[in-house]
Amino acid sequence: MRRRAILGYGAAGVGAVALMLFVGWWRVDGPGAPAPVGQLPVALTEMDFRLTDHEGNAVGPETLIGRPTMAFFGFTYCPDVCPTTLSDISGWLDDLGDEADEMNVVFITVDPERDTVETMAEYVGYFHPAIRGWTGPEEQIARVADGFRATYERVPTESGDYTMNHTASVFLFAASGRFVTMIDYHEAREFAVPKIRRALAEEMEGAT
């Protein structure tokens, strides 16, 4: 009786260890593993999408070729991250001064249902004048996000509305369309401006 109990415990122990190993494998190497970090955006020249800017012009990745580009995702119903990002970018553009005029700066909505062309026009009007607001049909937004290796997700809130989780990094592309680097959300401004200058400098190299 006792020996059977011990055997039983032993078997249960082996089973528990096996389960832990399996769970560990599942989460680290198996199907439950997180998506690989550090997937970089493709070049703008390899992207294909059709959107509308806040002035009603048809735009696409080709609109951005020829000048360095700073692009980021957000939505105008976002109370915290997006106005902060837009304010940060406005500050960087102020720091860059005249150099900012040589860049494309594009705010792409991940919430096209609420962010119409008119909504985007009103919203970007509160920030640096260089910032353009792009929106379009949901399937086109999905194509943009895919090219940028960005993600977004609609999440219901308790107030009966919804919010959007989304990639909050700012992406920098050279004038050629090549991806240069990104500025993470919590990065200090003293690192951001040199990164932007780097993207601007690549334009010079490309031009010579």
């Binding site: 997180p34 998506a35 970090v37 105008t76 119903y77 109370p79 915290d80 991250v81 106005p83 902060t84 837009l86 304010s87 940060d88 406005s90 500050g91 009103e122 919203y123 509160y126 920030f127 993600t151 999440v155 809130t157 308790e158 107030s159 509305d161 919010t163 989780n165 989304h166 990639t167 909050a168 990094s169 990104m182 993470d184 959300y185 919590h186």
Partner: protein, 155 residues
């Protein structure tokens, strides 16, 4: 900056009550400083307010909720950005502040999320925001409304 130092000093001297930036009331030892918020576009979007909440007392205090005539559903929320750079936002629950510690509500982290606005948030105005503490204590602070592009209380 000068104004900030001045008001902080005044708060430290416990001589202040009801000026626009810091407030000192309710649970005796809770000090709210540098409160600010951004103007809203209309009433459909949620607003956000920021501040530093300092526990100057000897006992922990627990922030359990908010109320304001400005919004039907004010709530402390937290923005988190994961390793992939994806930001998400969720209710922060109760926040306990140890004696001598502060909690910063600041862009990209904790914030007072003002859902279901009852009126637009207009730049240049202020609104009262009441912090509710465990045990029934309350602290009300007048929160200045800055521009939509404001980055901090000094803007």
């Amino acid at each position: 900056m000068k104004k900030y130092i001045l008001t902080s000093t005044l708060a430290a001297l416990l001589t202040l009550g009801g000026l626009s930036v810091p407030a000192l009331a309710g649970p005796e030892d809770v000090v709210v400083e540098n409160a600010w918020s951004r103007a809203s576009i209309g009433m459909n979007r949620p607003g956000a307010a920021y501040m530093t909440i300092r526990n100057a007392g000897d006992e922990p205090v627990t922030l359990i909720g908010l109320k304001t005539p400005l919004a039907m559903m004010p709530e402390i929320h937290e923005t988190k950005t994961n390793a992939e750079g994806v930001s998400s936002m969720s209710p922060a629950g109760e926040i306990t502040i140890a004696p001598g510690e502060s909690v910063a509500l600041e862009p990209g982290g904790l914030h007072a999320m003002l859902m279901r606005l009852q009126e637009p948030m207009t730049e240049g105005e202020t609104f009262p925001l009441t912090l509710l503490f465990d045990g029934g204590g309350e602290v009300t602070v007048d929160v200045p409304i800055l521009g939509i592009a404001a980055r901090g209380p000094q803007d």
